[in-house]
């Protein structure tokens, strides 16, 4: 009886390992394939059956790519764009989330629901109005144009509001009695306690900004303002039929 149970447990564990390895391989293989391809020459890439390890490691592919396009500048632009967005979203989400969570004002909850409802509007729908706005401001092909309409994240405000609601009221009361004003209570007491939520929001904001293709493509025109995503797409478009 015991032996049968033990046998089942072992079989279950083995199956779990097999599945884990299969899943890990499905994630790793495309990545390794990409790395391998980046070091092959053009003919080897299309060879059939495909090879996982290149015959010769062609490191000069990288040098070639950086010469063909200003990828250094693209990386810088992406970094500036993503950093501005992270800073902006952290600031607006923390302050607005705090206000929605902690301050009593007329129509607060209705305003918040209205705010949340904007999440149902697809980004593509507001693409043209955003472009017209930035164009009117004369910010096409600038960092201001790239980042300004992305500085507020409704999801971020929602996240921070929910987090601030978990900060005990007594902590803020204690700080008020200790002599802290509303801004000081926010900055010294509540915000440091919201570090985990801030880190999550910052990470998501950075990744989203870095991966953003459509908006930087629409709002930048010169090579020197392109981001990495736009640069890679354009690079790919140029050489794919070569």
């Amino acid at each position: 009886m015991t032996v049968t149970v033990l046998g089942r447990v072992r079989a279950g564990k083995s199956l779990a390992w097999v599945l884990t390895f299969a899943l890990a391989a499905s994630m790793l293989v495309p990545f390794l394939w990409m790395l391998s391809t980046s070091l092959m020459d053009e003919l080897e890439v299309f060879r059939f059956p495909p090879r996982l390890v290149p015959e010769t490691l062609r490191w000069d592919n990288y040098a070639g790519a950086f010469t063909a396009r200003p990828f250094g500048r693209y990386f810088l632009n992406s970094f500036v764009f993503a950093t501005l967005i992270v800073l902006g979203q952290l600031f607006t989400a923390a302050t607005a989330g705090y206000a929605f969570a902690k301050f009593e004002f007329k129509g607060r909850d209705k305003l918040f629901m209205l705010y949340l409802s904007t999440m149902m509007v697809p980004a593509v729908v507001v693409l043209i109005p955003r472009f017209l706005l930035i164009d009117t401001l004369g910010w096409i092909d600038t960092y201001a144009g790239l980042a300004s309409t992305e500085l507020v994240s409704v999801w971020g405000v929602f996240l921070m509001r929910q987090y601030f609601r978990t900060v005990p009221r007594e902590l803020e009361d204690a700080a008020r009695i200790d002599g802290a004003g509303p801004w000081r209570v926010f900055w010294t007491i509540s915000l440091p306690l919201a570090k985990p939520a801030m880190a999550t929001l910052g990470l998501f904001a950075f990744i989203d900004a870095w991966k953003n293709l459509l908006w930087p493509l629409v709002v930048t025109t010169s090579m020197s303002m392109r981001t990495v995503e736009v640069g890679i797409a354009s690079f790919h478009g140029t050489f794919v039929f070569n």
Binding site: P168, E170, D173, A174, R176, I177, D178
Partner: protein, 372 residues
């Protein structure tokens, strides 16, 4: 820590607090003398914490005036009221060390660094926190956190201390210890203290005066012994005391020109003529004498349960008029479960309550008593 002489009295005049259509506090008048330790006592939701928060400035009264010393503070921010508060859940800043927690209030007041350090160090020494100054609240035990919360209030040297059920999260032994420390602190500092609790032992042992509240209304404001011995109404009588006071519903009646209290199986002659009306008799456990001789007793009852507490025994009885009576007797009393025993009620300790608010109409039924 130096002794202080900056205590201020607190006066509440006609205070009302409404949350929407719900009244949290109704028509409250309370005068707390300078240097006094007053306990606000009552069941959950009675409005006692709301009163404390209004004194602190964390809630605005819907109506009425709050004075600290001679200053009306209704429109003054909490920080400017010169009060310090100890919260039920300690409310220590979790991301700051004990030292930073203790010094935060002084830092906000821009106290010079050297003075701040000296005060924090003194408070830490008084409360035996010196070894813990570098720790964060998460690394402290419940008792240590409570000490830090006390210390944070102490270093401020306020004119009024406010305590919001500060011991309710501690175990019984620590609670006893901290209660002693708070009493000692009050003796040394002489600062006005307002202490909110639902624990009547804390109220009776700490307070110079106890303000008992129920459903937002002040029921009685008196020294602890007076509250116990002369409860203003039936609520106070039943809320204070352990085991709960014995109560019997009946009526005052006029029989042959005499006033008597009548309940099923019980008739007691009143020394003072009273108007006939429904009334409740109340008598604490120590007011019952258990006699083996069943003659010249008020009634006989069956012993249904004994609770030996070491220094005394609580005897639960099935008697007339009420479903259960409880008596407090010496541990060597010979009664046993199943005995039928004579019960004599101590006339000098009987209370009568009547009227819509069940107010006390007479405290004693013996011959020397008179209507109060």
């Amino acid at each position: 820590m130096t002794d202080q002489s900056t205590a201020s009295g607190v006066t509440l005049h006609g205070i009302e607090k409404w949350f929407g259509s719900v009244a949290a506090v109704r028509s409250l008048d309370l005068e707390i003398l300078s240097g006094e330790l007053v306990v606000l006592l009552g069941p959950s939701g009675c409005g006692k914490t709301t009163v404390l928060r209004m004194i602190a400035g964390l809630e605005d009264p819907s109506q009425g005036d709050i004075l600290i010393g001679d200053t009306r503070v209704n429109d003054i921010e909490p920080a400017q009221r010169d009060v310090a508060m100890v919260f039920q859940n300690y409310a220590l800043y979790p991301h700051m060390t004990v030292q930073q927690n203790l010094g935060f209030g002084l830092k906000m007041r821009k106290v010079p660094r050297a003075e701040l350090d000296a005060k924090v160090s003194n408070a830490a020494q008084v409360l035996e926190l010196t070894e813990l100054l570098a720790r964060r609240p998460g690394q402290l035990s419940g008792g240590q956190r409570q000490r830090v919360a006390l210390g944070r209030a102490l270093v401020r040297e306020p004119s009024v201390f406010l305590f919001d059920e500060p011991l309710s999260n501690l175990d019984a032994r620590l609670r006893l210890e901290m209660r002693g420390e708070i009493a000692q602190l009050h003796r040394r500092l002489g600062t006005t203290m307002v202490y909110v609790t639902h624990d009547q032992v804390e109220a009776m042992t700490l307070g110079h005066r106890v303000a008992i509240m129920n459903e937002g209304v002040l029921q009685q404001y008196a020294p602890p012994l007076e509250v116990y011995q002369k409860p203003a109404n039936l609520f106070v009588a039943t809320f204070i005391g352990s085991p709960p006071i014995n109560t019997v519903s009946g009526a005052v009646k006029s029989v042959g020109g005499r006033s008597v209290f009548e309940a099923p199986g019980l008739e007691l002659e009143l020394a003072t003529p009273l108007a006939s009306e429904p009334a409740t008799l109340a008598l604490r456990a120590e007011g019952l004498s258990l006699l083996e001789n069943v003659h010249e007793v008020d009634f006989t009852a069956d012993v249904v349960r004994l609770e030996p507490l070491g220094n005394e025994v609580l005897v639960y009885l099935d008697g007339p008029a009420s479903e259960s009576w409880v008596a407090r007797v010496n541990p060597d009393h010979p009664c046993a479960v199943g005995d039928t025993i004579g019960v004599r009620l101590d006339r000098s300790r009987i209370h009568l309550f009547a009227g819509p608010n069940q107010k006390r109409i007479q405290t004693r039924l013996d011959a020397e008593d008179s209507l109060e």
